[in-house]
């Protein structure tokens, strides 16, 4: 399924209007308490549920909103401007939905699942990282294991499951069967009533505190149809990795944009106090704008290239090493640039930005964006890129 076919402007605008309302009226006023208390942004997610935003990308024929991928990305950006943790929960949910929609292949179980997701506004989390894989999402230890009555079971040790306690369903990577190699992976969708989650670590992090992402031992018994037919390496290259990097980078851009806006408000306030003089911080703000522009350009071009490549027959381009390098670079560049912009905003606002209770506070923005380089560690991505660069030609 194409990501941008039959884009309906009216539908997309209505969706964006609803998301911006939730961002302004719910996510923004709760952002500080979500951060301070490291609590799940439940009111924002409930607001998004009421707006049917959790099924925005599900095709209309399955009861969803039929919203274009570009608009989902824009929604991540807008939420990011108000509450980074809310935006991250929304983005991670959409990554799972977009991935399933793009690899449906007419599977009855998954079509019915998406209908239920739209009807009940179910929230999906992912379980991709695993103890014992060295942070490599392309490897699994846990395996789809035959069980009684033709069912399948698995047990996975996950070092982090974002909003695991609040999700209705989990999208889990596993080895195809107990004899499969670590790289021979599939993805399975387990519903809450089939799952057992045993929390085995705490959650008191520096930033993105509202994502509530401790570690769990995840066990489930599922039907064989709940395993996606397309092998995960293909799902990963064509959808999950580029979609993750695009939606994450949009919300990081959102956070950085809000930090920049706060810095700009600070400079304007200073200028109003001494008319006729350009405040010293204005020069810093100008430097900061060029940093923000770089981030914006990289995020925007990454989205455009992905949408173009997705519209090509067979999505051949997304399977190439050049494409892997492209979207890995988006992640690395955006995750390094976003905290740089937030730190620049702190430099503009000074002590007023450093304090947590002023209109110019950017501490939360800085801490939230510092998580970016750890979500799939940049050094691991550099290792992959280093290898791909040995053989890729035009990059």
């Amino acid at each position: 399924m194409s990501v941008s076919v039959a884009r309906d402007q009216t539908r997309d605008q209505a969706f964006m209007g609803a998301v911006i309302r939730v961002a302004d009226e719910v996510a923004a006023p709760n952002a500080d308490s979500v951060d301070r208390e490291a609590r799940f942004p439940i009111e924002t997610i409930e607001g998004l549920r009421e707006a049917q935003a959790l099924s925005a990308f599900v095709p209309t024929e399955l009861g969803g909103g039929g919203v274009a991928f570009e608009t989902i990305a824009e929604a991540c950006f807008e939420l990011g401007r108000r509450c980074g943790a809310s935006a991250m929960v929304f983005a991670m949910h959409q990554i799972q939905v977009v991935t399933i929609v793009r690899h449906l292949e007419d599977a009855d179980w998954f079509e019915e699942y998406l209908q239920a997701l739209a009807r009940e506004q179910r929230l999906v989390a992912s379980v991709t990282s695993e103890v014992g894989t060295g942070g490599d999402m392309g490897r699994s230890v846990a395996a789809v294991t035959p069980a009684e009555g033709g069912m399948r079971t698995f047990q996975k040790q996950a070092p982090t499951v974002s909003y695991g306690a609040y999700a209705d369903d989990l999208f889990v990577t596993l080895r195809r069967d107990p004899d499969a190699e670590a790289t021979d992976q599939v993805a399975a969708l387990a519903r809450k009533d089939q799952l057992q989650l045993e929390q085995n670590s705490s959650w008191d992090p520096l930033g993105m505190r509202g994502t509530c992402s401790p570690g769990y031992v995840v066990s489930a018994t599922i039907a064989p149809e709940q395993v996606l037919a397309t092998p995960f390496p293909r799902v990963s290259a064509e959808s999950m990795v580029p979609v993750s990097h695009i939606l994450w980078s949009h919300l990081w851009l959102g956070i950085a944009t809000d930090a920049f806006e706060r810095a700009r408000a600070f400079v304007r306030a200073a200028a109003k106090r001494s008319p006729g003089e350009t405040p010293p911080a204005a020069l810093r703000l100008s430097h900061l704008m060029s940093e923000l522009s770089l981030l914006r350009a990289e995020v925007s071009s990454g989205l455009t290239e992905f949408v173009e490549a997705s519209d090509e027959p067979g999505r051949e381009r997304l399977g190439t090493m050049a494409s892997a390098l492209r979207f890995n670079n988006l992640k690395i560049a955006a995750s390094e640039q976003a905290p740089r912009v937030c730190q620049g905003a702190l430099g503009v606002c000074g002590i007023m930005g450093f304090k947590n209770d002023t209109p110019f506070s950017v501490g939360r923005h800085l801490r939230d964006t510092m998580s970016a380089c750890l979500m799939v560690a940049n050094e691991r991505i550099h290792h992959t890129n280093a290898s791909l660069l040995l053989i890729a030609k035009d990059v």
């Binding site: 499969a180 790289t183 399977g319 190439t320 992959t384 053989i391 890729a392």
Partner: protein, 83 residues
């Protein structure tokens, strides 16, 4: 050509099985070849057969079996050389 490819896979593919036991269509990734090992296989193939795989060919499906690699190499050899 099949045997030369098999030899290169044996040296660089880091399979969890004996490369001599691979059927032409056996999935090399299922046999334990990692993405990193596949890059080394590609480099060795380029060196041995004196070819360069263009970017459109540098993807998983082209290197997933001995027969797929052979088809790619034959396609490259059928193309006029680009200086």
């Amino acid at each position: 050509m099949t045997e030369e490819i098999r030899q290169i896979i044996a040296e660089h593919g880091r399979l969890s099985m004996d490369a001599d036991e691979l059927t032409p269509n056996a999935d090399l990734y299922h046999a334990g070849m990692t993405s990193h090992a596949s890059v080394n296989v590609m480099l060795a193939l380029e060196d041995h057969f004196d070819v360069e795989f263009p970017d459109r060919m540098l993807k998983r499906s082209v290197f997933e079996s001995i027969s797929a690699i052979e088809a790619a190499l034959q396609e490259l050899r059928a193309e006029p050389a680009v200086s």
